[in-house]
Amino acid sequence: MADLVTLTINGKTVQAPPGTLVIDAAKRAGIEIPAFCYYEGFSLQAACRMCLVEVEKMPKLQASCTLPVAEGMVVKTESDPVVKARKSTLEFLLTNHPLDCPVCDKGGECELQDMVFRYGAAESRFTEIKHHVDEKQWSPIVFYDAPRCILCYRCIRVCSEGMGVGALGIVNRGVYSEIAPSHGDHLECDECGACIDICPVGALTSGTYRYQTRPWEMKHVGTICTFCSNGCKTTLGVRNEKIVRGNNRDKSGINGEFLCIKGRFAFDFQDHPERLTSPLMRIDGKLQEVSWAKALEAVAKKFAEVKARNGKFGIVGSTKTTNEENFFLQKFARQGLGTNNIDHHRSGDVVTLMDALAGRTNALATVEDCYQMKAALVVGADLAQEHPLLAYQLRANFRHHNARVYTVTRGPVREDQYSVSRVRTEPGKELEGVESLRPMLSQEPELLILFGSSIKGEDVRRLVAFADSLNIPVKYICLVDYSNSRGAVDMGLLPDLGPGYQPVDNPGLTLPEMMAATDLDVLWVVGANPLARYSLAAANAFVVVQEMFLTETAQRADVVLPAASAYEKNGTVTNVTGQCQKLTAAAKTMGTKPDLEIMGLLAKEMKLNLGIWTVQSVFEQIRTQVRGYNIPLPVVATGQAAQTSPLNGRIPVISRPDLIQSASNTLFTSGSLGRYSKKLTSVLEYPGELYRP
C-alpha cells in the first residue's frame, strides 16, 4: 500500500492513510489516547486538552484529535510531560466538579472517574469554594446538572449532527458556561436521550433511570426494541426483574449507538400497573380472573367444538410477536384448525415488492446500506417520525460520505435539511414526483429507494420499472410499521400466502372480512387490537385474546390470556430491511406466558400434533421451510443481524394491496402499546410544541 503514511507511536511503527488523526491511528494500533471531547463520527472540538501528546520536533504538546498523521512523525502518548499535562488538566477539571460520585447515576461508568483513576492525583490542592448551580429539568426525559458538566460538547453535537435536531447549545462564558436547551428553559426535541447516553459524566440524566440503581447492580441484556420496524438493538438494564434502563452500551447492533425515545425509554410499559397478570374469563357477563388451566381448557374446548362442526374461525396475528410465534400461529391455524382465515395489520406492500424483484440478488437493502449507498430516494415517508434509525443512518451517510438524498413526500421532512432535491406531492401521486427527478437520479452511480405505504400494488411495480430504466444498481426498502411487521408477512400471517410467500390452495378471509362476517364463530387475536379500528359484526363470536393489556379487543373477549412482552421472551424478529435478529428475555412478569407457550399449551390441550414448540425447534423449522430464512445460525445466536432474502421466485398472488395502511405513528406514538408507556405519554402531555419536521 503505497499511499500510507508511516509514523511511530510509542515506539510502534504505525501505518495509516493520509488525513488520519493521530488519536485514531493510535487507536487502530491498540494505543488508547484519552479524550473527553473527541468522539468518533462527530465534529472536532480540541477543547478538553486530554489528548495532548508529545510529537518530536514540535515545541508544544499537540492535541492528537486534530493532528493528522505525517510521514516520519514520532509520537509519544504516555511520556512524562504528557502524563503531567493530563494530570493537571484533570486537576483543573475537578476544581469545580461536585464529586458527588456516591449518588451520581454515572458512578461506576463515568469517564471522568476512569480518567482520574488512570491519571489523577490522589491529593487535592484546591482549597477554594466551588461554585454551585441548581439542577434543571428540561423535559420529562432530560435533566441537567451543570456543576457535573465538563463541557465536552458531545451532547450538542450528537443532537445537531447526529439527530439533526440541534436542541442544545452553550450559554454564558468562561467558568459559567453551561449547556442550555434552545427553548430557554425546556426542550422541544426528539427526546431521544442520545445526549444523556453520550455524556461522559453524570451531567445529563434521564427521567426514567435517575437514582434508580447503581450500574453494577443491574444485569444487562441485549435484545431488540419492540416498537418500530427498524430493529434497533437495545441493552436493557434490569434490576430485580424490573427494567430500569435502555441503551446500547456496546454499540454492537445495526443501530450502533442510536436509539429513539421508544427504544431508550418506552420500555416502561413492561411494568405498567394495568399489565394483565392473570387469565380472564367472561363469567356472568364480566371478565373475571381464572387460573391458566381453566382458561386454556375453556379455549381448547371451544376451538375443538367449532373445528368439529366446521365452524368459522378468524385469526389475527401480531406485528410485534416473534417469528417463531407467528410461524406457529399460522401452523396452528392451517394444520391445527384447518383454516386459512388468518391475517394481520399490513403496513407495507412487501409482497408485491418481493414479486417484482423476484430472481434478483442484492436488490434488498440493509440498514447499513442507508449509511453506505451514494444516493437515496425517500418516497412517501417521514423517516424522522416513523423510521428514526433509517433517518439517522441517512443523515450520517450525508455527513460522512456526502450522500445525495432526494425526497418525494407530502409535506416537509427532516431530510430536507440536506437533501439535494425535494418534491412535494399528494399521496398517490408520488410516482409523478419520482419521474420528475429522473434527470438527476440517472446521473447517480447507485440508488437506495425507501418507500412508504402509499406506494402499493401496481405502483410498486411501476417504481421498480422506473428504477430499472435508470440503468444503475438499485436497492429497496419497503417501509413497514412495527418491530415484526416484516416477519408477520414472511411467516405467512396472510389468508392467501403461507410462510415464505407460498400460495395456499383456498385463500381464507382477510381481516376486514373476518370482522364483517356475521357468522364468525371464533375470533382469536394474538397480540393485536383490531377492535380499535373495526367493529366485530358477529355478535356471538367467541373471542380469545392474548394480550398484555385490556385493550379494546381484550375488553370484548371471552377469554383473555396474559402474554409476556417482547422484553420477556426469546425468539427472533425481522426488521424493515429483512434483517433477522434475536430477542433475549430480560425481565419477567409473574402470571404471564410468552405467546408461543400459550399456543403450545393450547395445542397440547387440544391434542394437536404441531411439533415441538420450543423457540429453537420452531426457528429450525423456519430456517428450513421459510424461503429466504436459511440464515447462518451463529450470526443470529451471537446477537448480530442476518439478512433474509426471499427473492427466489415469483409470487402468483396479488395479496390485496388495498388493505395496506400504515398506522403513521409519530416519534411519540406506537399504536396500542405506546399508550401504555408512561414516558411516551408524558412527553406528549409536556407543554410546548414538540419538534415537527
Binding site: C48, A85, S88, T89, L93, T95, S177
Partner: protein, 440 residues
Amino acid sequence: MLYNEPSPLETRVLTRRFGLPNSAHIDTYLAHGGYRSFEKCLEMTQEQIIEEVKASNLRGRGGAGFPTGLKWSFVPRQSPKPKYIVVNADESEPGTCKDRVLMENDPHLLIEGVLIAAQAVGAKRGYIYIRGEYRYLIDIMDRAIEEAYSRNYLGKNILGRGIEFDLYTHTGAGAYECGEESALLESLEGKRGQPRIRPPFPAVAGLYQCPTVLNNVETFCAVPSIIEMGGKAWAELGVPKAGGTKLTCLTGHINKPGVYELRLGFPVEKMINEVGGGIRGGKKMKAFIPGGSSCPVLTGEEAWPLTMDYDSMAKAGTMLGSGGVIIMDEDTDMVKAALRIMHFYQHESCGWCIPCREGTTWLKKLLTRLDQGLGTSRDIDLVGDLAQNMLGRTFCPLGDAAALPTISIVQKFRHEFEAKIAKVQVAMPASANHPFVVVQ
C-alpha cells in the same frame, strides 16, 4: 480628538493628519494625499502590491507580529470562492488604545488600507469588526464609509474602473476573546465567539470558510504609506526584519501618557523619559509591560536598556505585543497587579477549553486570597505551578496570555507575596494539604 500632545520625537507617518481640522472628513483626507495610494495600486498587479508590502517588513500590529505581506500571499487568489477583508478593531488588550485614535482621527486611512488589501487579493467585501464599547467609533466609521461610497471609493464601480468593493462595520458584544482572529470570525458569522481549530488559517478558510485577509487596524493603516513611500523606504524606518513605525500606547505611572508613533527600535529609556516625560512623581519604575497585559512582565532594571522592537523584547523574554506599554512605579502592589490581570483573563476566558476556563478561575480565587495575605508559601508556588500547567496547553493563546504575566510576576516579585502573607498570622495545621486556619 487627541488625548495627548504629540511629541517631537515621534515619526509621524500614520498619524500625520492627526490634529488637522476636521481630520476625519474625506475632504481633509483627500486634500492631504488621501486615496492616492489606492489609485496607484490600480496600476499595479496583485503580485506587485503584495511584494511591496513584503518589502516593507510590515509585521502585524495586533500582537502576534506575523509578517503581513507573507500572510496576504497565503490567500489562494485563484480560488473560485469569494474573498473577504476583515479588520480586527476589537482592541481589548489591556494597555492598548491605538486603534481607536486611528479610527477616530483618520478613518479614511483605514478604508484606504482595506481597499488596497482588497485589490491585492481580489476581495469584493470587507467587514470592520469594532468592539462594542467603541460605540462612537462605529458612528465615525459608518460616516466615513458613507462618504467613501458617495465619492465612489466604495461601491459596485469604484472610480469608474469596474472595481467592486463593499465595506461594513460590525459590532462586537463585549468579549476580549473576539479579538482572537478565529473567534472574531465566528462572532462575525453570528455564532458564539469562540476560537476555531487551526489550521486552516483565515487566509485559506476564514469568513464563511472563504479566503480572508484579517489584520489589525494599525496594520491596514500602515499600508497606504507603504505604497506611497515604497516598501523599502518604509522598512528603513524600523529595524531589520521589522519595518516602519509603531503606535505605542504609554499607560500607567508616567507623566505624559498617550499614543505616540515611534520608529521600531526606539529605546525604552528615551521613550519613557523623553517622550513620556518620565515616571510620575520622579519615582522608580518597578515593572514594565511592553505590549499589553498578555506579555511577561519585566522589572524596571530589565526594561531600561531595551529597545522597542520584536527581537529585542523576545531576547528579554517578553513580547512587543500590541504596543500597549504599561508602566508601574515603585509603589505598585504586584500581588494586586497579578490579581487584576488574572481577574481580566478569568472574566474573558470563553470557557471552551479546560485549562484556561478552570485555571484562570482557580488562579483568581487563589490570588484574591493571597492578596488578603491569606495563604502559605506553598500557595505562592501553586500560583506559578498552575500558570505553568495552563501554558501551552490551551486551545487558543488566551490561556498563555493569562499564564505568562502571572508566571513572571511570581518569579520576579515573589518577595511581595511573601511579605503579604507574613503580615497576617495564620495557624497551619500539621498536614501539608489541609486548609489554613486564620487567627484574627
